[in-house]
């Protein structure tokens, strides 16, 4: 174990990572969010969705550095006396959960279909790639909007809708890589010793095509969080009882014209920060793991 860790510190990957400020900042932002999301509910001043802890006397409080700010509500409160910072911590939790759940599901489904299509080829391959082509010619946001419009808002439905639009990217990339790997000697060798297709695909081909998947999955988390926020903003995403960051912005917008800017500006700022961190990390991984750029 110790031996292994030492060698990781010496790899070129690690060397390039610590010398790339963007990548370090990106990782720091992502870690910050992960820690916030895990321990956040234990340290927030209030549970913003426990009606009993809300007090209308606290409503319309500006952030702490403005006149009339209150030390217990650092980023101010909304029109119902809800602490914005606590709402952001709980909202980040929902946004990040949806982002990770959708990426895991789309990656699993898309990779599996891409592996099968690429390895076996034939009619199934033709059909799957047609579906992928057609779906990619329509903007993901619009397809997801249509699905949500038909099925109504809900956390589970949102995850299903975003997975339905998300799997195609993985399927296409994986299929392309498998077409190359399929004709390599190690696959022939595995076939010769009598392994059946599925062990070959999962144990031999899959580990060799993981690199592009890591890059796509990283950037995809950011895209999903943005799409989810947009759908929730339009009122077809998460339910009112489980507000993600996007829904918080929408709720804040409804009171923007009465001067309550902080309740929509801060949640949006956190969406931007989270997605920016993920994209910084994704950019680094793409440049680092792409052999063509070296």
């Amino acid at each position: 174990m110790d031996e292994k860790r030492k060698t990781f510190y010496r790899t070129e990957f690690f060397h390039n990572f610590v010398r790339n400020p963007g990548a370090v900042i990106g990782l720091a932002i992502v870690l910050f969010f992960l820690i916030t999301v895990i321990i956040g509910p234990m340290i927030t001043p209030q549970n913003p969705y426990d009606i009993a802890s809300l007090d209308l006397m606290d409503a319309y409080k500006p952030p702490v550095w403005m006149d009339g700010g209150d030390r217990s509500f650092v980023l101010g409160t909304d029109d119902q006396g809800r602490d914005i910072l606590s709402a952001i911590v709980y909202g980040s939790r929902i946004s990040l959960f949806i982002g990770i759940a959708v990426v895991v599901l789309s990656c699993a489904i898309g990779t599996f279909l891409g592996l099968v299509a690429g390895y076996f080829g034939g009619r199934l391959d033709g059909f799957l790639m047609r579906v992928v082509d057609i779906q990619l010619s329509f903007p993901a946001m619009l397809v997801a909007l249509f699905i949500m419009a038909a099925f109504g808002r809900g956390l589970g439905k949102l995850i299903i809708a975003l997975t339905l639009v998300g799997w195609v990217l993985y399927a296409r990339t994986v299929r392309g890589s498998v077409l190359v790997e399929r004709n390599r000697e190690y696959v022939d060798a595995a076939r010769l010793i009598g392994l059946s297709p599925f062990p070959i695909i999962l144990r031999h081909v899959l580990p060799n095509i993981l690199t592009p998947l890591i890059v796509i999955a990283t950037i995809h988390v950011g895209t999903v969080i943005l799409t989810e926020a947009t759908l929730s903003y339009l009122g077809v995403g998460v339910p009112v009882t489980q507000p993600s960051l996007g829904l918080l912005v929408k709720n804040g917008y409804d009171v923007l014209f009465s001067g309550l800017w902080w309740s929509s500006v801060f949640p949006g700022m956190f969406i931007m920060l989270l997605v920016f961190g993920i994209n910084l990390l994704g950019d680094f991984l793409r440049d680092e793991l792409n052999p063509r750029l070296k």
Binding site: P139, L142, F146, N279
Partner: protein, 321 residues
């Protein structure tokens, strides 16, 4: 070329047919439109009567056949809310959306072309790094939030740009457009910029990557050796060759601008077809949703077709199979 064109046109119709089947099925399995039409006090007998009158008691494939026949006659149903043909509602609002999308394209190209070419030609320059950082931030921004910030700053705080609506419109060929009057122009600036931001940031990154790729190639070195000026080298030699993939992505971006116009129009209360879609979703106005999807799908298919044709024209290496 002709066979290729015919093949593509045929494919377009296949795709549109599939879209119509999917849209029809999904919409049929969710919610009961009869309950949207009858008054809340209707008795069970009246509901059943309305169901028969609307043809909703017939088998699904029969309903689809009726739907398809009406679709081919340009009849997409009557809106529950407005009591007017859904198609008319959408066509009326189309110019507003298209002018918004068009202005966004102009804004994003005007900024992305020079920025992208510069960042690609001088990748290690401090300004290039700033451009790239900015574009990464640009693709990380939720567009609705940017719209809110712009409204808060320019409309609420400074009060010199309006926050909603389309203002006075002028007419061109009998179609009302906002950008023809000063008032309308003031109304369109903020939504168009909000809509342009994502595309703008993405195009900068794409153009930069393409320019960097092209600058490494031999013909650039030859052109340099020949004594071509730096400006001409960048804009006529490098950019021309870098644009091929940009055109494809750009075509997809036009589609995505139309999709994202739903968000921008909702924020700025811009009376386009995107806002109509979101309003119709919130009021479960099914005929309008279906009509919107069919029209937009037709637009996307047409855009993809045009992109493919343009692609073959600007790059003679593309094989038509």
């Amino acid at each position: 070329m002709l066979t290729y064109l015919l093949k593509r046109v045929f494919q377009m119709f296949v795709v549109l047919f599939m879209v119509s089947v999917i849209v029809f099925c999904v919409m049929s399995f969710t919610g009961d439109p009869v309950l949207m039409i009858v008054p809340p006090t209707a008795t069970d007998a009246q509901i059943a009567e309305a169901r028969v009158a609307l043809g909703l008691d017939r088998p699904l494939w029969d309903q689809y056949a009726v739907f398809l026949r009406n679709l081919l006659h340009g009849n997409l149903g009557v809106s529950y809310m407005f009591k007017r043909p859904a198609l008319t509602l959408i066509v009326e609002r189309m110019p507003a959306t298209l002018e918004l999308v068009f202005l966004s394209i102009v804004i994003s190209l005007a900024i992305a072309l020079p920025c992208g070419v510069f960042a690609g030609a001088r990748p290690n320059n401090a300004l290039s790094r700033a451009i790239m950082g900015g574009s990464l931030l640009g693709i990380s921004l939720p567009s609705f939030w940017v719209g809110i910030l712009l409204i808060f700053y320019f409309a609420v705080e400074k009060g010199f740009l309006p926050s909603s609506g389309r203002g006075t419109t002028g007419t061109l060929f009998g179609i009302p457009f906002a950008f023809l009057t000063w008032d309308g122009f003031k109304h369109i600036i903020l939504p168009a910029f909000t809509l342009a931001l994502g595309t703008l940031a993405m195009l900068i990154r794409l153009i930069r990557a393409q320019i960097m790729e092209v600058m490494r190639q031999d013909f650039i070195r030859f052109a340099r050796a020949k004594g071509v000026t730096w400006r001409s080298l960048l804009f006529s030699h490098a950019l021309k060759n870098a644009l091929v993939p940009v055109v494809t992505v750009f075509g997809l971006q036009v589609g995505s601008l139309i999709a994202f116009a739903t968000v921008t129009e909702t924020i700025f209360a811009w009376p386009g077809m995107g806002k109509l879609l979101v309003d119709s979703i919130n009021t479960s106005d099914r005929p309008v949703i279906v009509a919107y999807l069919m029209i937009v799908a037709a637009m996307f298919v047409a855009i993809n077709f045009i992109v493919d044709i343009v692609y073959t024209m600007i790059d003679p290496r593309v094989d038509l199979r």
